[in-house]
Point group: none
Chain length 209, copies 4
Amino acid sequence: MFRLKDTEQLFRMSTSQGKALSEGRPLRADARRNRARVLVAAETVLAREGLGASMRAIAQEAGVGLGTIYRHFPTQEDLYEAIIVDRAQRLLSQAAALLEAEDAGAAFFGFLTDIVVDATRRKGMADVLADAGIDIKAGMSEASSAMREAIQSLLTRAQQSGAVREDLLMPELLALLSALYMAAERNQWNVELRARTLAIVFDGCRPHH
Amino acid sequence: MFRLKDTEQLFRMSTSQGKALSEGRPLRADARRNRARVLVAAETVLAREGLGASMRAIAQEAGVGLGTIYRHFPTQEDLYEAIIVDRAQRLLSQAAALLEAEDAGAAFFGFLTDIVVDATRRKGMADVLADAGIDIKAGMSEASSAMREAIQSLLTRAQQSGAVREDLLMPELLALLSALYMAAERNQWNVELRARTLAIVFDGCRPHH
Amino acid sequence: MFRLKDTEQLFRMSTSQGKALSEGRPLRADARRNRARVLVAAETVLAREGLGASMRAIAQEAGVGLGTIYRHFPTQEDLYEAIIVDRAQRLLSQAAALLEAEDAGAAFFGFLTDIVVDATRRKGMADVLADAGIDIKAGMSEASSAMREAIQSLLTRAQQSGAVREDLLMPELLALLSALYMAAERNQWNVELRARTLAIVFDGCRPHH
Amino acid sequence: MFRLKDTEQLFRMSTSQGKALSEGRPLRADARRNRARVLVAAETVLAREGLGASMRAIAQEAGVGLGTIYRHFPTQEDLYEAIIVDRAQRLLSQAAALLEAEDAGAAFFGFLTDIVVDATRRKGMADVLADAGIDIKAGMSEASSAMREAIQSLLTRAQQSGAVREDLLMPELLALLSALYMAAERNQWNVELRARTLAIVFDGCRPHH
DNA sequence: TATGAATGAGACTTCATTCAT
DNA sequence: GATGAATGAAGTCTCATTCAT
């Protein structure tokens, strides 16, 4: 069974995407294309077959040889790690974009919604995250300061604007994000369930009460 | 990879606990003892090693031969199913007990708390539930009418007492239960995080707003 | 996989049928009944499931406990041996009966027919005989003098009556018996195929040519 | 216990020998070498240990890893099937060669002899054929038209030349082939027994009588 | 550099046999 | 004497990973 060796370094927004192995010169164009294909194929296969997906199946989906996968990701673990990092980066961009928004409250709640929507789109990833001994919350809380900082800013600004209660702190916010992410992903919340469930949580986050 | 054949029949509050395989006469005393030992050992090993736990490891932990596991649970799947059923039964008893409580609101919020506390205590189970293609929410929503009815009653009574908002329906309640369960389990929420996170959700469930 | 330890002693027309284990006092009535039931069940199951049949399946078919089988047949091998002995004894009675017949030629060809008819009736046994490292021919040629003598007499008398060629000897006769038995059993020769195939062999056995 | 799924397609004179699994490009040189080594080793081990032979034993005999066997033959069943096909192909070549012979009677009887000689050389195969739920007769009768046609031609030509009785039809001929093959193989008929037994059958096939 | 053939540890499961009940 | 629960060796097959081509 797969198990990440170093949870700590996840979500470190690694810059490995454009790099060979751990560092070194930039990848040749075709190599970079292969790397991306493998990453996409891995998500596809994982979504389809769950955690039992084999490296061979991923290679086939990607249309490359087994050896090619191992050139880019020396270990199955490394591949899964890369998927997670990939994922986190996309989430981070969304958070960053929302930081620019005018309505701080809408930005904050928008981010929560984004999380759930994203999760809904990516069935199967949770298995990987799960078995990797890591999940969004764990990942986030221990993880890249970039991500933490983005969320923190979103929260602070929303509180300052009065849209979110003052006593909401990062730990429970991350816990909630984690919970929503995992459940939405695994159970494939449809749009209505998503809306109704988030409505409850949003209300819980509002001030006054 | 492990996958349950029949999610439908989970949580059916089976009475299999004291019975041989699916039916037949009651197990001999020593057989019943072994069955229980295997179940306990399985939870232990699953918590320790995650979903990758091998049947052999479980046998060793239980101090029985491999064959003994297979006598009681013809398949790995059957064993995992039994664990889940076991679990659901305990949760159901708690829900049932709370139905007797005087304060309907406290009973309702108490059940949510129970879920989270129980989850916290059982690290690793989520992997099983997860990869079983089933989770508390899925299990509950499709599952035993007994469990559904208990939760429904808890909710209705709490709403009638005015402690919970009228527009809270079962789908989102189950979704929330699922989310809290999984996250609390995987991330091992400590008592404080538990309290603070639940506080948000509880507020979201309250009326007025 | 099953393998007989001592092919030599097969077909020795053992008298074990009415005896306990290797010798000793006669079995109690119920014990003898059980022994017979096991033997019948074993043939049934072997015919149904082939060589892969398990001792447990045989016990179930016989309606006795596993332990009971082992009381009568200390080993799977012993059980299979008993089946073969059983079989040979029946064949022997038929041969003996035919020895009394007036028409020696008809008796001889009748025995060949009996062999094939018997084989046709007992699908699956060949697997056992086969994997026992023994078959009718091998068994017969090495086996009980009783059987050999019966066949020898059948042959000699038929030759003396002029119905069978003088140069037909026991080795090739046994070889032919073996061949017909195995093929008829495995392929379940129907009555017509049986007749047409035997016609060829019979003609080959006739004198003159 | 081993059991072929599709007896029908046996003896189809597949061209799989030089091919990867079912289709695809030709195997790499080393792969083809390994495939052949496995096939040879399998026959050897089967002859030595009977049907109980394990895949591991075959791998050892072949001097390859277990996985290598499974790459070429995804299933034990596939391996055994391949052996049978292999075998049938060789028999077919012999039959084809005999079709060119001038003396049609000699060709016909020669083929019967070939069958028995071949069988004698390959102890143990019968177990495989047998438990495969298939044997020469069954295989042949249901099997490749190529093989059937070759035998049919041999027969017809021999009948036209007057060497074989007119009323001998394919069904009983195949039944006899099957019987001789199995018995000769299992009992390892020596040259003399072979000759004496075949003499009887040959006489039975001759006309006049 | 890319490919995929080879490897072998290890997983699940079966089943003959023993022995406590 | 009968039963069937327990045992564990052994079997088939999968799959991450290595390395020759």
